[in-house]
Symmetry: D2
Subunit: 337 residues, 4 copies
């Protein structure tokens, strides 16, 4: 941590800062420059982050040197984390596809969709039984009934189930049916929910908050790892910007950046990023080319009848074509899909 | 709802759209222009919002005509909602001040702060017992112990207590101690929590999500009203932008805009908006001038020792001076404070 | 400047950095911490900003200590700059109002507007003869003819003329008619134009770019001062954010922040910030309360016939009422208007 | 254009709107719904965009139906525009690479760089002789001397020259040396400069403004086409968002979206988007996968000595490796590079 003093600060200010640092167990390294005096605090910066040095008299600014996260960082664990779940690997050589409807609507429709996905080699079926909806008047999901539909389709197809957890009170229930738990974008900083899934034994897909920085995203993952659950999959799903032609703006550079900063797998959700099915294939191919470990895609047999997110849901035929194209791109970058 | 058809659409596309609208109980009003055919759907637009007409063949775009919220709108209830709580009014002629530390740290410090606030005529003491923190390693609040400190200080000073609820499992506990419940910015779209506080009998301060549009903000308030709790206070607290000199960017125009669109009281939190104590007074005065019904201000007797948000916490003396200045501005715009 | 080295860097990397700094005339101050080695470069940081130290082997990051601007900073000139133009002062005790139509449309309409402004004590008439329009098919301004209309109205009313310069080739022409030159938001980083107005003897209103940080805004002002023109007025006019209910988002905290960082006057343009006339009064009052030295307001006698920006133009009666309200707020904060 | 009336509007308001539309040569189509009356204006919407109908009494909002641009739209010209320049094609089957230093520094360094690019099959050499720099104290480019260096290297290598025009007064000079003119991000709405390059006979690379919407970007291209120059190449180069780990956020979905909306070629500049060389390859591959017609890449033989943009400049070896990788991705999506 670097503490920059104001020009014309008092000697006392400097002494007080040094004493405070020493009291906290740090060594203070003073350096007087032409325009500013700076103090380097030598010790565990993570402790110092919680101390409001900015409020001490004479302090102009405080500059951190280290990243605020630890367990999720590559510096802490240089090797890629590969997450194994029922014989499938996430974060390995193979790029995984997680596909399905936004919401679980009925057993029949879910089966139709799942069967349409199988020929493309999709192992993971996604679908929400609990739906976070902007409007209180919109369909909120079937709850446990929806989870049972997912279970039935898993039985029949052998696909693994990815579904969202919105409320810590539903943890036991959702874990009973899900193979992978999803934490949605609006809950990325629902810290109680993060703590909750830090204590379960299922892998967690953590979606980036729509205005979360990369640093905040990793800090939210750190919450889960800090509780002991190391099977976290990061999902870039578009951030909020001024552009209105797309639902969000996919931050494609987040993929290589996250791969540099963390050992965790990184997947991309082009459907929520763009919000319209016609742009999904180009963005999905881009995600694969950029190094994503997986794709999360909304697919529906009849988007015009979907209970939610119809406009961004792909029809099975377009989906199958896109997967073929993604597979070629995957091979071009030395992966399989 | 207006449905715009693609140029060169099929006749069948048009028929299918009209039939679908009619099946849903709408009248379809067709208008053929020079470049586009458009269909006006006459009926309850809120139903149509849930139907993915964009996915029907031949549709170029869908334009809503009405706002998506109802109970919170001025159109539904033209008169200002005034919230009464233990003899105080929020949303009336008097501008209310909610002040206190970010986190409840100890009974002694809380008392010191509360006593420093009293001479300025502050009736509402804010302080967090449950703290949403970006880092899992940061102080997370004292929980029930913190609530008891608040209770004790209320006993002693007669101030009313505002404190945050983060987890639906704590609702009963927090309601036992709080006069007003706060829903934080990171939980503005924690829909389960919104539903939860829609069913209690305490007023709720709902903070705007850091990347929430005005529309989404009002939809979150609608969640609470839809459950039956009409005592919602909206709090503008700065939105996330590209600017980094301040913690967030206070959206000052949200104040008059919200007052136009909704009957609910609107307060402003300058402390979280700017993130540095030296800018708080100017922004607080601006909020009063713009028509805010209240101010939420972080105050600490020793910001340099605060457990959280030290840099944005005001010292009591500066706070008292600011309140005097705000009072003069309040009078200039025909209010009291 | 602080140079942070990567963990596990080579000794050679450190030596090379130190040598480079010394070659550039800096002293290098090495500090080895628990997790990182950092090098403090002691000397004129502005020189070092142009050196890509980040690209040297072993460097993790480079942290500047000083602000990149000099002439515009309060550190360089602690006293407020007061700009005098034909007997009026900008940046002094009196808050100035600059009002008029977006575009100069005809001599008659301009006269009508000017006369409607006079009773409110407005000294500065704004109006564009050269208009930056998003569409090539929109009205682009009358050019010199428009300047002559402004001149005629100045003659008749004694008001001072503020008008925009868009093209360095028009400098002489525009300076012939204008009392104050305006540089529009889209030209805030048109560095050639900035250099141009740095060499004239007229005051310049520099509008903040719609996605410019405060730092970039001040750097653009620095361009003008660096050429010798010290009469720059900064204008906050709203930044681009995700919110769509208003045209832009007024950054109200920019007012006190700029007043801290720079000695230059700071004015606010609520009209462009919100883009709708009904919200202008609340935001104008907020600007005055926050410490603005002036207001830039679009006024038109018949907004529904305006050639541009009709929806955000106020009618004279509403304008007069707003000025009265602003005057009371000005007095409440110890200013006049 | 759809005009939505306020609930409870006067009959007179409606008549006045209808009369106004008819006076302007439009047919008015009235539709009374349950909650709102709407008026469809049938005729050339582009005329109506300039009329401030929002300011008429009784109007709640105005919704455009058509895109505001014409010449650049696919609706106007369905076939891809392929731009031919000295035997090379941009926008055809082959993805083109435009590479070189940020600024032209010396003839020697430029030659070194150009020769390092040739083995990768690069046909276009980019380099700035006029540099838009945030700081007035930074290197501003060598001007004509720099153009002559570019000319000399073209002579020697046969590469085509891409260089930036910043000031309409330099048009003749820059056109003398450039094969393709670049308009930088900060000048995307420098409408005078756009008009200027609309009148030359060189292709123009138009970079997206850092906070420009897709609509505004296309409107700026429309300015150039409206003057008669149809050889415009659109360049996505990252937009400004809240994220600070990268210089900007590349809007990858802009590539397929622009290809849908316009017939013009679309290229991508990963270097400015991310601002750090280590992330450029992943983003470049993503751009190719998403359908970009070209890549603009900053390359320098010694980034640590570059006069500007060192941290984002690639070394030749890394560049050559990246081009190989991009070539494989290009083939996977059915293109060449």
């Amino acid at each position: 941590m670097i503490i920059v003093l104001k020009p014309g600060h008092e000697d006392d200010d400097l002494h007080r800062i040094v004493r405070r640092l020493e009291d906290l167990g740090f060594r203070a390294h003073i350096s007087k420059g032409e325009h500013r005096t700076i103090v380097g605090a030598i010790g565990d910066e993570r402790i110092l982050r919680e101390v409001p040095l900015e409020s001490m008299p004479g302090v102009e600014s405080v500059l951190p040197i280290l990243k605020p996260y630890k367990l999720v960082s590559r510096e802490f664990k240089p090797d890629d984390t590969i997450i194994r779940v029922n014989g499938q690997e996430i974060g390995g050589h193979k790029i995984q596809v997680f596909a399905g409807p936004c919401a679980v609507e009925s057993r029949e429709v879910l089966e139709e969709i799942a069967e349409a996905l199988l020929p493309s080699g999709v192992h993971f079926l996604r679908g929400g039984a609990f739906k976070p909806r902007t409007s209180p008047y919109a369909f909120q999901g079937w709850g446990e009934k929806g989870l049972k539909f997912l279970d039935a389709v898993r039985e029949r197809t052998g696909m693994l189930v990815v579904t969202e957890l919105m409320d810590p009170r539903d943890t036991v229930l959702v874990c009973r049916y899900a193979d992978i738990i999803q934490i949605g974008t609006r809950n990325m900083q629902n810290f109680r929910l993060l703590t909750e899934v830090g204590n379960i034994e299922k892998p967690v897909i953590l979606k980036r908050g729509m205005s979360a920085t990369i640093k905040e995203f990793l800090m939210s993952a750190e919450y889960i790892l800090a509780q002991g659950n190391e099977r976290v999959i990061l999902c870039e799903r578009g951030i909020r910007t001024f552009e209105t032609e797309t639902r969000n703006t996919l931050d494609i550079s987040a993929v290589p950046l996250l791969k540099l900063l963390t050992h965790l797998p990184v997947i991309v959700d082009p459907s929520h990023a763009v919000g319209r099915a016609d742009l999904v294939p180009a963005v999905a191919k881009a995600a694969v080319a950029a190094g994503a470990d997986g794709l999360l895609i909304e697919v529906h047999v009849r988007p015009e009848e979907a209970f939610s997110d119809g406009p961004q849901s792909m029809r099975p035929q377009a989906f199958a074509r896109m997967i073929e194209e993604c597979r070629r791109v995957a091979e071009a970058v030395g992966r399989t899909l």
